[in-house]
Symmetry: C2
Subunit: 230 residues, 2 copies
């Protein structure tokens, strides 16, 4: 296989770089037996609200959308959410850990001189707090946020931040996401797309497939680094 | 309350005019114990695919999206879907019934001379088959489909079909939907919006509320008709 000439590797944040599992754990701790249902609906509504707002040009910072989605999900599931529990759940987003293989993978890429970025629906402060919390300070050349363009994935303007920041063509960027819909959106946009399919899910049926697929972030290394440096 | 001067009443199709319950029933019959999980995921994916395609300008007819969503949902739930079961489930969309109060409500409005329309994500043939199947032939002045504009709700161009067809301003249209997100999208667009909240769900937290709410389609009558004609 020829080595592709990537000018940068750009990562999705939540679920890809940062493990949001601790959010579900806390939900289960606060509401025993309901944690999984709550965290699943919360995530679904967080995405749904971002898509509806993107379609109708009603941008609102992702942190606020995340809060709205949590409050709705508790109402929907008849879970009594007091202010303390709400704050504790929201604060989990400020102390996310990285998946075990992530830091080493990012450091190897950094050592090899590959420009790295984050492109996320999150607002800038949210992402920067997560970067610090996960010990990733200084690893990224660009942190690209929905805040700049006031819309969300999969709309073109947010993906377009990456080729603009790295001054290259979309296909020269390897875009890495653990969210299947995001990996497909990235492919639609024109990136070279890598789906980190951590959960072994089937691919969404949207008539497009990411060019690459793996189950861990480190699975991108053979594609990017010469064999000797891994 | 002053009687609003509506120039037309425009209805969403699936779940609002047409009862999709029979789809879930058949799913349960084909896959005992899995029917509810399948029909819920199928619906969720059908909407998700429509939103992602709308955002990324990748229109595909709603019938095909519905089929894609069914195939994905079965894969995701590890349900073996043979061609016969797939066809039977898809064919349910051609024989949907109306909710019990719908026909009478539509006839009363029609008798009172209120212009009526349908505005749906469905493709034209799909909607027309459902209209015939539910005994609603001849009740509507306009059947407005995503096919014309090649995008889906909640994007402006599909909602814009209604004021164009009825030659009036958006707020002069009473838009009726049982889907909370659609009722909110309609409000965002500028319609006067009526949410038929059949399941008694909480309203989605999107910083906008439909102006009116009820639990049956007939709940729109007091708003539109003089008391004597009901």
């Amino acid at each position: 296989m020829p080595v592709p000439d990537f000018r940068a590797i750009v990562f999705d944040a939540y679920g890809t770089l940062f493990d949001v599992h601790s959010v579900a754990s806390l939900a289960e701790q606060l509401f025993p037996g309901r944690g999984e249902a709550l965290s699943m609906l919360w995530r679904q509504k967080q995405l749904e609200y971002s898509w509806l707002r993107a379609m109708s040009r009603r941008y609102k910072p992702f942190r606020d959308i995340t809060r709205d989605a949590l409050i709705f999900s508790c109402e929907r599931l008849a879970i009594a959410l007091d202010e303390t529990s709400l704050q504790r759940l929201m604060n989990q987003y400020s102390s996310l850990s990285a998946f075990p293989e992530n830091l080493q993978t990012l450091r190897l890429l950094r050592q090899a001189g590959v420009p790295l970025g984050i492109l996320s629906n999150g607002n800038r402060e949210m992402i920067e707090v997560s970067v610090r919390s996960a010990g990733m300070t200084g690893l990224f050349d660009h942190i690209l946020s929905s805040e700049t363009v006031q819309t969300f994935k999969t709309q073109d303007p947010i993906y377009a931040l990456a080729p603009e920041a790295f001054a290259c063509r979309p296909e020269q960027i390897l875009f890495v996401s653990s969210n299947g819909w995001d990996a497909i959106g990235a492919r639609w946009y024109g990136f070279t797309s890598f789906w980190i399919n951590r959960a072994g899910l089937p691919l969404d049926r949207l008539d497009a497939a990411p060019q690459h697929q793996g189950s861990l972030l480190s699975d991108i290394l053979p594609l990017v680094l010469p064999a000797s440096s891994q």
